[in-house]
Assembly symmetry: C2
Homo-oligomer: 271 residues x 2
Amino acid sequence: MAEEIAGLGDPIRTLELMWGRAPAPKRGPKSRLSVAELVAAAVAIADAEGIGAVSTRRVAEAVGISPMSFYTHIPDKAVLLDLMLDAVATGQAGEPTTPDFHPANWRANVTLVARSFRSFYLAHPWALQIGTHRPVLGPNTIRAYDNFLSVFDGLGLSEVEMDLCVILVANYVHGAVRDVVRAKMVKAQTGMSDDEWWYTIEPFLQTMDFSPYPVASRVGAVVGELYGLGDHDLAFDFGLERILDGLERLIEGKAATPPGAATVDGKPPSA
Amino acid sequence: MAEEIAGLGDPIRTLELMWGRAPAPKRGPKSRLSVAELVAAAVAIADAEGIGAVSTRRVAEAVGISPMSFYTHIPDKAVLLDLMLDAVATGQAGEPTTPDFHPANWRANVTLVARSFRSFYLAHPWALQIGTHRPVLGPNTIRAYDNFLSVFDGLGLSEVEMDLCVILVANYVHGAVRDVVRAKMVKAQTGMSDDEWWYTIEPFLQTMDFSPYPVASRVGAVVGELYGLGDHDLAFDFGLERILDGLERLIEGKAATPPGAATVDGKPPSA
DNA sequence: CCCAATCCTGTACACTGTAAAGAGTTATTT
DNA sequence: AAATAACTCTTTACAGTGTACAGGATTGGG
């Protein structure tokens, strides 16, 4: 398995493809396929078999062209990955652009987008494995960003603070969902669940001396007994709640402070 | 780049290698190399050229054995990746196991471990690209976990809560450092900085209609003008500060509540 | 008509992880 | 001492990857 770094191709060409702005060819045969068909086929493969199964040959075969014809439509695999990411980004299909936000309850709104972001990763786990080299500035991605930002709008935060809040929550969700996705993928590939794995290694762990790690062994014992390898849903909600508390202090500080006194990092001027 | 999923090999064998507990071979020629030498060579390659440059052949060549001899020492590449992760985990070498924690200032302590965790990823960016299938239960990794946990010890938190706090902060750091690392890697591979990339695509962006994304375009304009693609250090500190505020509410609540009253999962601690 | 642009294809190369089989070395058993 | 089992290391081989290159087929503009 390799690294899957996307976006090393010509940035302009990538953007043109993503926005459907590629200049229409004047001469030559009409192509039998659209870029969208290739991307859809690639996404289908990734959803079904993981990103590792997505190769240029596989995608070409899926749409019924020869391996090298792929490169007629998409410059290289990195661009394909960018296109895939934007294709599945929340905001298209049946999903409403702006779901039912509570006007006066920003905590509920943030929880909503965080959960929806989490659901996105659970639906397309391979998205976690793609390391985009540059931000994917496609229409769907930007719509998702817009949607995410809007839950922090009108709360007295500066634009920079709004951006930082989105980054904070997005980073947290990304990190939190990684473990769940990993466990699922490994289970699918090996047939061994986290629990089975744990029981397999447990006898070995018994033979070892954990006294150099006092806190870890104490906590690990309690946590392991209660949840095995950990309850991912519980961990997600716990972390999100802490982040919401942290944001609340920032936002309440803003409400109590006249606009203009705002500082970039959002520290409430503790009088 | 591909997925680099680690840990699909025999779990016990992996643990034995990681803890140096492999039963010493009784017959046969002495091997000229130790597993540690192979792992060190792999880490050196990854540090210098990225995880993509780490192949079993490259590692074998680096230590002066034939390609297939690699498999005499390490079952497969997935195990190598696990060994690499534990080899670089914080806690070994000259680093003190427990740096100078302030006894009464947990915020400073959390900030310290968070920054140190961040430094780790910046020193070994390839660690971000490895998706471990199972937790890496090596000595260095556990020591790092122990160290991380200890900053939440003695604050009135339950064991489960301590674990969840570590997960929260670790997830956040992981997510936050991703962008910095990505930018660095792309710059190294393409010679194009984020700023140069931005200037390249800017003319294209000018031709587009962003009115469907009102909040994003407003925020993007301000943020882009101030920081280009974003100030990663600023974003890191901002997010960490919010998280610390959130943790503070939890911890202060604990201090005001007699132990045994309530825990996050509702289960009372053994009291 | 001619030619340039474009789509599609087959061949080829260097690279990957690793299966399989064997050669050489060593310690234990007979 | 001889046989054997265990071990290290090697060569060969295979199926897969991304994609460079060269050419054939088709289309529209001059």
